[in-house]
Symmetry: C2
Subunit: 450 residues, 2 copies
């Protein structure tokens, strides 16, 4: 049994929905269908979710609502008419969209969530009705009925552990269930959304709770590539990679899936496949717990910019018990997430994402390091990029790092830092951002072309 | 003006002392002479300091003392007679050695320190007398007179900041001053020793306080080699290296000098030279604050064994604020000094020296990681060695890491971890200890032979 999730671009138009219908029809294992809100039909189009945000904002600021309400309703109407679905659904959706402007504004922490969730919720009704009219035994089920009970944290809902047992019962339903993604219901019956990109979370939770054989995630790409197609021309597509590899690649620039969304499926040991609604015969990229070894130790190369490093040196630093801990403590006190901490003997650097830093925090840190920790030297390096070469098989291949460093040095790329952790799933290079693309090209050439 | 320190082997016999005399005579800049206690005259000999420890132990346990007293006295006597120094000195030293057994045992935290310091103290008197009888204007000066006032921390004395001004006045003395190394005087007039190896500290403190032009440290080797002569056959000797490079090399196996001893000279910006009493015309190895660039980016390669790593992985570890800090906190609570912390995305390893770990501490850590930090996997890897390639010029040379990793992979040496910090003074490799020597040879070959 499979859980099949469709992203916004797969549901943006009647044409896309007809592809979705064919996909569902072609495999009887596809029992749980999780849907996003309709995405952009064309590049200048607006996602329904973005229109709902505008609707919410207009409502709370007391602006005129009819124009934005009509644009949302018309979006659904166009799809319903084009697919020749029972027009009664237009009335249902219209009523639902208009009813949002009757919600209490005061003491209502779920107002924003309720607006946003209307995109997925109405689209799930639409998809279920469309399936039914085309001969499938399908029904819409809302997250409350499905047992998806979440914490009272608006825009950051978490599943309650007790939900898993309730959701397991979904297996007993007959036919196809169409479930809106992105939100759950709180114990006191409010709509509460996951963090943005959260339709993937719904699919992942259902896959884990029902112990699905596979979680299919339909997007508008043929899966993942060994390097970013914007940097490397026609990169290889990846057939199979592990959750760990996926995480390491996602960390530095690969962003097909919201990686927190994968936790339930990972913990539930459900493999995942990323497929293309527009090219469903392509096998896509499968994400598994363990994979068979491959000749090539490297599965992918990714890169991401906007990192900075704080570098400090202090003579005999490493004799000082607690030095590193104190450095991490000041970061924690300032709510700064750090990424890496390469150490020499008397040197220590902290690599963080640029967005974590503000001028005032930077000043605070430098003052603390100089005055409290009495470092000899401290500096901040900006415009850094992290390049990751990833592959679980690297550990059984001597020489991956040699190949990588050779490729970089032959291309005159200075490596600011290297870190190869004991997991040996990845090697991380920090380079100046101006060299990022050149580095990815050089590494791709070294591991996939030679 | 130079501060010149002689180690125990340079002062072990009349023959050695005559070399010391020639060294002092040959350069009028050598004004402050810091001496250790007589070391081993031959491999089966006992260092005077070790005899003094035995003497102390016999005294506190109430054992017979005359044999150990005589052996210490005779050691000095033999040197004095062979050098034909005024025999009155024998009486002075005899009285001093015997007087140690009159010291109060109770409520005397400085008892051990006073016994130990007698080696350096009497030897300084001997050296001064020898110089004087050979036409040098020399005098013995004890640390109290010299202004070397220290904290009340037996066996771990630290200089009091106010001492620097007093010691600066040593410049005004005429002639050569011979100062015993290894101890200072507390504000309440007790003898208090530095940590072991502390004669180097005395020299370093005097060099810094007097703003010496050079701190000469005479040993029994021609300076430092680019790799350990026990591993690499006839390695190059190092002409010049920086304090930073020295520290990085000393960290992993190079141990000519006690590195804490170098702090005062480093902070006082006094260059240091390591020379050989038995081969004084050899230029030795100079340790400087900054050095001119060299064609070879690598100055030395060192290695040390007996490291272990604690490896942990947890899905989405790096989203968790405070994770790394908590890991370091448990180590700090257990008084464990850590060395390196390489990180992947969801992986973190801590490299520590084996001696820092006990079975009970290991159990404590693993329980904490599993139960409190809820890691997915945890393991401990033993028998690791750290190899360092060191050189301040590495930062301006692209390709050092490439050359190193190539050399290691061609020799089928698996690199468990790599860390190249932002200082770029060194690159650290962690390998299995069975590969340590092979790795050092391969790296030496790559950087010094090709």
């Amino acid at each position: 049994m499979k859980v099949t999730k469709f992203g916004g671009s797969s549901l943006a138009s009647a044409e896309q929905l007809s592809k979705v219908l064919e996909i569902i029809k072609s495999d009887k294992q596809r029992k749980f269908i999780v849907v996003s809100a309709p995405g952009k039909e064309n590049p200048v189009d607006t996602k329904v979710t973005d229109s709902l945000i505008a609707y919410h904002d207009a409502y709370v600021t007391g602006a005129e609502l009819s124009e934005i309400q009509n644009s949302i309703i018309n979006r659904f109407k166009r799809i319903i008419e084009a697919l020749q679905i029972n027009p009664k659904l237009i009335d249902i959706i219209t009523k639902d969209i208009l009813s949002l402007s009757q919600l209490p504004q005061e003491d209502n922490p779920y107002l924003y969530d309720t607006f946003l969730a209307a995109g997925e919720n109405n689209n799930a009704k639409l998809v279920a009705e469309y399936f039914r009219q085309n001969g499938l035994k399908a029904r819409y089920i809302n997250p409350g009925q499905a047992g998806l009970i979440v914490s009272n944290e608006p825009q950051n809902a978490r599943i309650l552990p007790s939900s898993y047992d309730k959701m397991e019962k979904l297996r007993e339903y007959e036919g196809i269930l169409v479930i809106p993604g992105f939100f759950g219901i709180t114990a006191d019956n409010h709509i509460c959304t996951f963090s943005r990109g959260g339709s993937d979370i719904t699919g992942s939770l259902i896959a884990a709770a029902t112990s699905a054989d596979l979680y299919e995630n339909f997007t508008d790409v043929d899966g993942m590539f060994a390097a970013h197609p914007g940097v490397v021309k026609n990169p290889h597509s990846i057939k199979e990679l592990t959750y760990k590899e996926m995480r390491e690649l996602a960390y530095a620039g690969f962003s097909v899936l919201h990686d927190e969304a994968l936790i339930p499926a990972y913990r539930g040991q459900v493999p995942l496949v990323i497929k293309n609604t527009n090219n469903p015969s392509h096998p896509g990229t499968k994400i598994v717990l363990e994979r068979s070894t491959d000749k090539n130790p490297v599965v992918g190369i990714s890169g991401d910019d906007k990192f900075i490093s704080i570098n400090m040196s202090k003579y005999l630093m490493n004799r000082e018990v607690g030095f590193g801990r104190k450095v991490l403590q000041i970061l924690e006190d300032l709510h700064i997430r750090w990424e890496h901490m390469p150490t020499g003997i008397d040197d220590l650097s902290i690599v963080i994402r640029e967005r974590e830093m503000t001028p005032i925090k930077e000043k605070e840190i430098l003052t603390y390091l100089t005055h409290n920790l009495e470092v000899d030297e401290v500096s901040v390096t900006k415009n850094l990029s992290i390049i990751m070469i990833v592959g679980e098989n690297m550990k059984s291949h001597v020489g991956v790092t040699a190949t990588a460093t050779k490729a970089l040095s032959e291309n005159k790329i200075n490596i600011t830092m290297i870190s190869q952790g004991s997991s040996e799933v990845s090697v991380m290079f920090v380079v100046n951002s101006k060299d990022e693309k050149k580095a990815i090209k050089a590494l791709y050439q070294a591991f996939f072309k030679e």
